[in-house]
Symmetry: C2
């Protein structure tokens, strides 16, 4: 990673940057590297589970829990300029769980390696405080996801997902398989297919091979509120 | 709360205590008050949702999520000397959710009011860092609970609960209604009753009105591992 590029990125995304001394800034810039992920590539499991702090520079990552038998529970997403601190969980003494991270699309990120970040936290209380504040922010994200998953009716969750994707991509034509939606929403494919058919019968969406087209956004929206 | 009592309690439970100046210590001691809760009393909802930091001095609190329609998801328990920081969520800028807190038994706690704690965090970075580290610890507790709830078979969860209570109370005679166990484990009473009957048929427990007696601890333990 070029030093200038690193300074711009860190200065813009890390609020404790002005509170670092010159040596600490240099260490961060020379130590940071760029990683690229292909869509669907997973990271943050096994030997790579504590890779360090990631700053997303393009694309998006999704963060989820995985059970021993491979089931998934979606937690939150990280987009451009979001900072991922749970990929440096080994640095945070009170975080003792591991999340799975997958590139949702082609994605690139700057990585501050775990040892470098650990040194920084030990030296600079502002950096350490930032890491824990960011963990608290993710805690809020997870509680939101948990409430969605446990308390919200599935029609509302699916409608919400479709509308979020519509707004994210800017298009009413969504290219998602039912399988992939199921994975994202932590449910079974059959549950997604059945609900999509119901939405189709209500003329909110029309279904085609490998795609979903939103026909009536307002009506779909009415399901979110139920 | 008596000053000497407060000094002993804070000195023993708050790791940042030695890093406070004399004025800050005095403010904490004179501001702290003792609250008592009866078994089943709830706190942490509505107007009392940001009461401040609680240090449990006797009894136990359980912390859970509540849906709009009254369903509960158990998160974790706090026992003597545990510090509750989510009851001061308004002080933590990145925590935007509210948990419910209920006294599991008769319970007393020292309270550092939210405004006093907010002032302390603004003045002393060690106090602030402690609050966020404690939130991170609770984040780990919640993730554990979430994995239990979503990924663990109910026979294992119930066996685990019974054995934990057996070890906590020191007695194989547990005084719990099926209703109360259901609430604690975030499920329906029928699910608990059915599984308890199954455990009885396996000669792990014997059931009586309002009580469960563990007859074969080793066998009950075998359900935890499945």
């Amino acid at each position: 990673m070029l030093a200038d590029e690193a300074i711009t990125l860190f200065g813009g995304t890390l609020p404790f940057w002005p509170q670092l001394d010159r040596q600490q800034k240099e260490t961060l810039c020379t130590g940071a590297r760029t990683v690229r992920f292909t869509a669907g590539q997973t990271l943050g499991r096994g030997e790579r589970e504590c890779i360090g702090v990631l700053i997303v520079t393009a694309g998006a990552l999704r963060v989820y829990l995985t059970s021993d038998d491979g089931r998934e529970v979606p937690l939150y997403r990280l987009a451009k300029n979001d900072v991922c601190v749970l990929s440096a969980a080994c640095v945070l003494e009170h975080i003792d769980f591991t999340v799975s991270i997958e590139a949702e699309s082609e994605c690139s990120a700057a990585v501050i390696g775990a040892p470098a970040f650990a040194r920084l936290c030990a030296e600079n209380v502002h950096a350490e405080l930032y890491a824990y504040k960011l963990a608290a922010e993710r805690f809020s994200d997870v509680m939101w996801a948990m409430q969605q998953l446990l308390f919200t009716r599935f029609d509302a969750r699916l409608a919400n997902f479709l509308l979020e994707e519509r707004s994210r991509t800017g298009s009413p034509e969504l290219r998602f398989t039912h399988e992939l939606i199921a994975k994202r929403l932590g449910t079974a494919r059959e549950v997604v297919s059945r609900m999509l058919k119901y939405f189709e019968s209500e003329r909110c969406v029309s279904l085609s091979r490998g795609g979903i087209s939103i026909c009536d956004e307002a009506k779909l929206h009415s399901f979110c509120k139920r």
